[in-house]
């Protein structure tokens, strides 16, 4: 095993992520390797240096922004009604144009059917039509002789 692998173990050792067995192997190596002992020393120094870095001060503007922040209504799991509503929204979101088209088609079909039905009803009641024609009043216009009703022979 070369020293680079022991260096990785040194890094894990100072993070307390090295198991007991590996710790024993590492320390056996450290006892006879000056380079790795120096590396361990350098790692410990670096850790100490990083830990002494002062923490940055949180700006007051951030505190003010957070104080003025008001969480919205949704802070808990959506209620059953909400979940159902969103389910319906998802279902209806895509086919809305299709739904409108279908409704228009149905309306047109209903209108056509109604007109056809009206036509058929008139056709099945001829007596009424004759009566209507026969009862038309005769209009007399000055200077024009009324048309002679052709006599049926």
């Amino acid at each position: 095993m070369n020293c680079t692998l022991y260096h990785e173990d040194v890094s894990r050792y100072i993070d307390r992520e090295l198991d007991e067995g590996r710790i024993a192997v590492l320390f056996a190596h450290l006892a006879g390797c000056t380079g790795c002992r120096e590396f361990l020393g350098a790692m410990m120094e670096l850790r100490s240096t990083l830990h002494w870095l002062p923490a940055p001060r949180v700006p007051a503007t951030l505190d003010r922004r957070m104080q003025s922040f008001r969480p919205g209504r949704r802070k808990s799991a959506p209620a059953l009604l909400d979940r159902m509503s969103s389910w319906w929204n998802r279902r209806l979101l895509v086919p809305v144009p299709a739904l409108a088209g279908t409704a228009l088609l149905l309306l047109s079909a209903a209108l056509v059917s109604f007109s056809l039905w009206q036509g058929a009803r008139r056709a099945t009641a001829p007596g009424q039509q004759v009566m209507y024609i026969m009862s038309l009043p005769t209009v007399e216009v000055e200077g024009i002789a009324p048309a002679q009703t052709p006599s049926i022979q």
Partner: protein, 183 residues
């Protein structure tokens, strides 16, 4: 103790108590702001990232089923916010695990600055994926498995990135560290 109180606060937040959000903010604003600042290297952007993180916490608290995982979840949101901001200005991708530096700042250029500034500037020169794991480990004391969960990578990757980042930092800061020890 803290985690129990976190759970209680989260439970209150899930039940619609907006004051608990303020308490969670007070508790985590320091570590979160430090994390976002070190990730973004810009105070105003870090402020936005922390703000947006808590807005998401308020809106998505009910999605967190395991309240004990709150801290990791919080940092995961903050990490995603920072990466989203970073991606707007620069591509964030992984090339080589051993290539840890984003920008090379020779130590000689930092002479005359405060020691802490030199250390911070060097830390900020690490690539974002190396920087994030080191920040979570050194400043938040998180385990490799927690960091892996937050960053969406494996423990092995986390271990490797932490090692390479530390080794590079130690090499670069060696003159400063050892000078500091002598004085």
């Amino acid at each position: 103790m803290t985690s129990t109180t976190d759970i209680e606060l989260l439970s209150k937040l899930q039940n619609g108590d907006s004051r608990s959000l303020g308490e969670l903010y007070e508790r985590y604003k320091g570590p979160l702001y430090a994390f976002c600042l070190h990730m973004l290297r810009d105070g105003a952007k870090a402020e936005d990232a922390v703000h947006d993180t808590f807005v998401k916490v308020a809106r998505q608290a009910y999605t967190l089923t395991h309240a004990g995982a709150f801290r990791g979840w919080l940092f995961q949101i903050a990490r995603n916010e920072t990466l989203m901001i970073l991606r707007k200005t620069q591509p964030v991708h992984i090339e080589d695990e051993e290539d840890v530096w984003e920008s090379q700042t020779p130590l000689t250029l930092l002479e005359g600055n405060e020691r802490t500034e030199v250390v911070r500037t060097t830390l900020l020169s690490l690539k974002v994926h190396h920087r994030e794991v080191l920040l979570l480990r050194e400043f938040e004391g998180m385990s490799y498995s927690d960091i892996a969960a937050i960053t969406g990578s494996t423990e092995s990757t986390v271990k490797s990135r932490i090692f390479h980042a530390r080794r590079a930092l130690a090499e670069k800061l060696a003159p400063l560290i050892y000078d500091g020890r002598k004085s």
